[in-house]
Assembly symmetry: C3
Homo-oligomer: 378 residues x 3
């Protein structure tokens, strides 16, 4: 969705798409899991999902099941969803409310909400058994703009440091206080990188998205982040449109303290490697990507509104949800067609145009993160 | 279906079935794709499917999607179904009518029907970009007896040369002018070679096909091609039967200019590696095989009739279709039982009888084509 | 189900669960097939399934399909389910009655019920072809306590020798004469070893099985086999319970000649590597396990009663079937949760308590059978 005048400047002559194996090879997917998804901060949801002590949900990240919860001291925490006794999965439901402890459903080992082993039946007779050595395995968790991020690396660098380029960039939208309205899950039969590339240009908008192209001229706008793990900028709303909605009208109160010019803009940012944030005057939409294999990606898409939207006469979240759900499906479909074509032996990297400077930049960042020379992959 | 007096003569003592791994090993299947399906001419359909300029269908061959079309100069052509820009599949429907060009559904790169790149939006600013270097990837295509054949080898030997043993053999049936009546698709959970072997003998007919055995004595007839990539001959119709139909009556006008003796015969030929042609006095049936894995084969079966059959009072294509659809299903079922048995560790090559000289000859040709000594595989 | 005072004595300090790869690795599963399932005697059913000559059923063991039948001399026999001609599976139905021979459905090769090739159409012209060289491949079969056991090793040691520790142990239950009432099949998405470990302790009973815990105090009883391929002992029935049934009442006549104390006991034995036998005063239940992959196990569970039960007024097999079917499902579910948790990278062997001495012993035996030092796997 980022097709900007600005991008032409950042275009590098000779940029081309990635070789086919990057979209199909299980071996490269395993490398990505190792070098990218097990090292980076990954968005798994919103703080609003775990408001009260005991509230939890289960996140699936890089093949791991992780319990994300609010403990009794109101601290958000994350633990691998496995008992230290015989490895049983502790939480089976996708979300819920825990009482003051987590009890294994097999032999009743019991843990506090901050992960300490409380009870282990019949282990008293075991020599050298120390409860304190059998706490739940913690997963580093940090919060940024109301989003919950996990990191499967045992000693990750801090999120604040990693996210420096984004510091304060969205403050005026007051993201932490926004409230969720709807969440929709999708399964896309395409490599996760195709979804990022698709998000990063609007050259396809007039072809694929007549509804979007009508409300937002596809060549309008400007990029402000054109290299690195965070990429994006804004596009303008068409003169008659207050937001990206089916009706063209705003469907809720302005989300934050926005300057006048922001009321005519939609901002799009990709946050390597699994989050897309799209900020409209009246709502914020985000996509969380969860790669399942080289050729399949799960996507969760959620729409956030002003905390008081419910009491606003113009509040009509479905106006935004319907607009983007249709657009999402158009994108997933073309990504699936790309996946099929790229799987051919005859596919070879093709040339990016200046209107595709952000996908090219994204590919370069990807190559860096995978630990490979950008020249080798693009 | 080829069980002939003649075969006894061509029988080689000691012939036995192929070792089990040839029916189950993914590695051998990959070798077959490389050495057989990517080198040979493969039947993908009939010229009648692309009569007018712009008519196209999509063929799946050896894991590749190929667009087969009639161009504006009325030339039949074939192209890999991928855009040269970002690899997107161009044609999504299985068949249809193109306007005067092929447009990519993603970013609207546009090609002529003979494969040249006409338009590539926003590529004008790209240095060294030459449209003529981004034509669609062509696939060699030739026509034989009204059948369309593709070859995934970039420099294949000519079909005419490859098909020399069949030259003029079917002329009297006037195959190019025949019109399709019905097509039925099957998925068989068996290795593709089991289907060829099954087609190549009628020793199983009295056991499996009581309907067929009643209309055509299983030991009647004679082979005329008993070694090499093309194998077959004829069987006689029973005295009371005019054709292989449920009713026993002819179900259409005689397809070509047939001598009297051909009115009592059904001819069966296997054309290595993916076509079976069965010529009856009043219709021609063919099977196209498309191996999907070592253990699964797709089959398309079509029935062709005299171009004027529609106006013939005795025209009743279902009489033939029902007969062979039932017979096909009997064959696929026994092939599936063979696949299951051969998958056992205890399976070992068993002896072919003189009545199975053609399957044995087919196995020898297969071994040659795979580049292995026949002794090693049989 | 074996949680006994006795086990505490046999507990070895430091025992811990197996490393994760033993539950997930296809390579280790292949080793298990080779070293365990293709070497051991495997239970495939009961003699009562093949009472009369010609009666047969098809067993699936370690990826092989085996015909188990009663021949004309009333001898129970087993053969690989493949024709020696072209490898076709001979018997397609799961069970049935053969006439006096087995005929291949493809080309009608015919075998006697003791496996000799009787007829092979058109093979008379084949030099050096001797029918006696093409008998069906036999599978060693032995009978123990009315159970049919196969062995895929061509020269197995005798079952009697292998089963020495069990000799006469169950005689008083008169197992050979018992009659089947119901059989239920289950598919469990868990490694087969998890099912054995689950069966081998009742520490989980109060958590998982409230119905069972009510009828049989989970810490009651005593083990009599605490090391080796056969493990088990008994648990006591609660004072108000005559058997493990929904009603708590006995649901059939006493199965054998049981001493008074046995009327208050349920005996549980695991028989490496695929049988579990649970002996109640009024019925015997057994589970046959058939591993399909590292992560999936098929289970057949059958309930056996006194041969005269049908004429007994208190005969109500569903009272037992319902009780255990519910308990089975509780166990399969927790095994599936264990499988999921153990698949995590963070799973590591955890400590067994003294109440889990039998699972620990089972793991040791498993390690021995796999040919590995117990220390390496536990």
């Amino acid at each position: 969705m980022n097709p900007f005048v600005e991008t032409v400047r950042s275009y590098r002559q000779g940029a081309s798409t990635l070789p086919g194996q990057y979209y199909t090879s299980p071996e490269i997917f395993a490398q990505e899991c190792e070098r990218i998804f097990r090292r980076h901060w990954l968005c798994v949801g919103r703080e609003a999902q775990i408001v009260t002590p005991g509230a939890y949900f289960v996140a699936s990240v890089a093949g791991e099941s992780v319990i994300v919860l609010r403990d009794e001291q109101h601290v958000a925490r994350a633990f691998y969803n496995i008992c230290r006794h015989r490895g049983t999965r502790l939480c089976e439901e996708q979300s819920g409310e825990l009482s003051r402890s987590i009890q294994c459903p097999y032999h009743a080992w019991t843990y506090t909400l901050d992960g300490r082993l409380l009870g282990a039946p019949h282990m008293e007779g075991v020599e050298d058994f120390e409860k304190r050595e059998y706490s739940l395995h913690r997963v580093p968790l940090e919060i940024w703009e109301g989003f919950l991020f996990l990191n499967l690396s045992p000693q990750p660098r801090s999120l604040a440091e990693a996210f420096t380029p984004l510091a304060d960039r969205f403050r005026r939208f007051r993201l932490p206080r926004l409230r969720p309205s709807r969440r929709i899950g999708y399964v896309v039969e395409a490599n996760w990188k195709l979804l990022f590339q698709n998000y990063s240009e609007c050259l396809h908008c007039p072809v694929i998205h007549p509804g979007l192209a009508r409300r937002s001229p596809w060549r309008s706008g400007e990029n402000d982040l054109a290299e690195g793990p965070f990429l994006g900028g804004f596009m303008l709303l068409d003169g008659d449109s207050e937001s990206l909605t089916v009706s063209g009208r705003a469907c809720g109160p302005v989300v934050g303290e926005l300057p006048h010019e922001d009321l005519r803009r939609v901002y799009y940012y990709s946050i390597f490697p699994n989050l897309l944030v799209s900020l409209h005057p009246d709502y914020v939409m985000f996509h969380m990507l969860q790669p399942e294999s080289a050729t399949r990606t799960r996507v969760e898409c959620e729409w956030l509104f002003h905390p008081d939207a419910l009491h606003d006469p113009q509040y009509d979240p479905e106006d935004a949800v319907s607009f983007w759900d249709a657009t999402n499906r158009e994108d997933w479909h073309i990504c699936e067609l790309s996946q099929k074509g790229i799987s051919s032996r005859m596919y070879a990297p093709g040339p990016y145009s200046p209107r595709e400077s952000l996908p090219a930049a994204w590919d370069r960042e990807y190559a860096r993160q995978l630990g490979q020379h950008a020249e080798d992959v693009g």
